[in-house]
Amino acid sequence: MQLFLEQILNGLAAGGMYALITLGLALIYGVMKILHVAHASVYTVGAYMGLYLFTLTGNIFLAALGSMAFCACIGVLIERFVYYPLLKFPPYVPLISSIAILIAMEELCRLVAGPEVRTFAAKLPFPAVTIGNFTISSTLVTVYCVSFAVFILLWLIMTKTELGLAMRAVSQDMEMASALGVNTQVTVAVTFIIGSSIAAIAGILVGIYYNQVYPMMGEVPAYKTLALIVVGGMGSASGAVVASFILGVAETFLIGYANIPMPRDALAFIAMIIILMWRPTGLMGKR
């Protein structure tokens, strides 16, 4: 029973971290209809930057903020200088450019920071929580609190602010939104800022949780998250979150309990294909 509970908690944490990465991807796909595979490298850079700033300042909050700011800039630069000019071309053109950026940035991380796996031992501000005999570690608590906070914040932005309205309008119909006075360029740029910042948070959380930061860490979520946004319903942020949690829990159980000898990426895609056969527009897709 104890093991089962532990697995659930780990699974939820994994789901939460997947959700943070996938959220950004879903939002960006929603407004720009581009598969921003390079998002996984923004996540990696976020982890490294967070680690670097933490070793510099000793303060995890400052490190997180600094990393978020840095990644936000990177995200906007990618959007302005690569994706935006390529919008009028068929979708595989920005997709290839995104994959090229992913590889280039991963390599850059390796060249700058070295290929070795670094540890991220941060003192976390959240205490461990004990319920009866059962202790939830400080790391887990942090992951839960941070993910939850981000989801709430994002939900508030999307539903209660003008920006959120603009983002939803642009993701439904960019031309229409523009005709109604929405500044689509700014909206898209802000979406990248938000998405990339969340990716930075995800990178830091993953780095702390698994105590590992390495150049190829982006390869783990890079393609799985594509499957996740399909399952969630293309462009549906809430669908992406739900799908992420399902995957997080499923993966943890399959690795922990059953000894299914399949690599995790393949699992995610098999699940995606099965779900698509049942619901072709994804779990929460509209079309």
């Binding site: 796909y29 209809k33 598969l35 200088f81 690569v82 000019p85 390529l86 071309f89 068929p90 979708p91 595989y92 053109v93 997709l95 290839i96 450019s97 994959i99 090229a100 950026i101 590889i103 280039a104 390599e107 850059l108 060249l111 393609y223 594509l226 499957a227 399909v230 293309m234 000898p261 399949m262 690599p263 990426d265 393949a266 895609f269 098999i270 995606m272 294909i273 698509l276 056969m277 072709p280």
Partner: protein
């Protein structure tokens, strides 16, 4: 020619053959395929198994492998080609990951160790290696390009161009979009299978890693960089993207980074490819082809 040059050249030709197949799917029919490497792998594993476990010769195994790849391509294409474009990209990525996982985890296929000891190709009793094998690859490439040319001149090819340009209009003119896309898909994957079979007998050892999603991206980059929808595009792309890493080889550590950076620059500033429409390179050299590339339904 030095054996180093022949080696690089052979690999370039093998990739060009696979890229020609991808060009049929993406360039002619306008469908995204990000899992092409999976079909190269199926061709490779099929020929490898048939020539090692079943003791067939390369020539006996090849037609069987091509049929196998064609059938798998058909089965994969059938559901995938009905979905929307973005879904298709992700579905083909999924196919790649799943196929590679099957290669990796099926003990009968060698599991993680792959298949080794693949025999060389024999022609009239002579073993083909080095220049001989290179010549075989060239012949295969020529055959594939002739088939592509023939395809663009056929009604089947024209229907693919129509579907690529405007699927709804094409269907209102008697073209069944599913049939057109499937035809292109099967043709393209069979060409990938041929490339895979050649690869298996060239490397004489294969495992799942060679056919990963990364390779699919390379193939797509080759097709796009050369110019989608053109006849020579895949070859030009394979040469350019095959020679680049060799030029960067002395810069060992920076190799991947420079390759990715250059690919990014190429895609960003030459999205139509070297032979494609929005190219900076003047078309005067290719003038005789340009009327033809219009007929081949070049995308720009």
């Amino acid at each position: 020619m030095s054996s180093y040059v022949i080696n690089v050249a052979t690999q370039i030709i093998i990739q060009a053959i696979a890229a020609c197949g991808l060009n049929v799917i993406v360039g002619y029919a306008g469908q995204i395929s990000l899992g092409h490497a999976a079909f190269v792998g199926i061709g490779a594993y099929s020929n490898a198994m048939l020539t090692t476990a079943a003791g067939l010769s390369f020539w006996q195994a090849l037609p069987v492998s091509l049929v196998i790849v064609g059938i798998v391509g058909f089965l994969c294409g059938l559901p995938s080609l009905r979905v929307r474009e973005d879904f298709l990209a992700i579905t083909t990525i999924g196919i790649n990951f799943i196929v590679v996982a099957v290669f990796q985890y099926t003990p009968a296929l060698g599991g993680a160790l792959g298949i080794g000891g693949i025999p060389r190709v024999r022609l009239f009793g002579e073993v083909l290696k080095g220049n001989g094998f290179f010549a075989l690859c060239i012949v295969c490439l020529v055959i594939v390009m002739v088939i592509c040319r023939f395809f663009t001149k056929s009604w089947s090819g024209l229907s693919c161009f129509a579907v690529r340009e405007e699927e709804t209009a094409a269907s209102s003119m008697g073209v069944s979009p599913v049939r057109a896309k499937l035809t292109a898909f099967v043709l393209g994957t069979v060409m990938a299978g041929l490339s895979g079979a050649l690869y298996a007998h060239y490397m004489r050892f294969i495992n799942a890693d060679s056919f990963s999603f990364t390779f699919s991206v390379t193939l797509l980059s080759i097709a796009v960089a050369g110019g989608l929808g053109t006849l020579w595009g895949p070859v030009v792309g394979a040469v350019v993207l095959g020679v680049l890493p060799e030029i960067f080889r002395p810069l060992v550590d920076y190799r991947m980074f420079l390759y990715a950076a250059l690919l990014l620059m190429m895609i960003r500033f030459l999205p139509g490819g070297i032979l494609g429409g929005s190219s900076v390179i003047s078309h005067k050299k290719f003038k005789p082809k340009s009327a033809e590339t219009l007929k081949e339904g070049r995308r720009s």
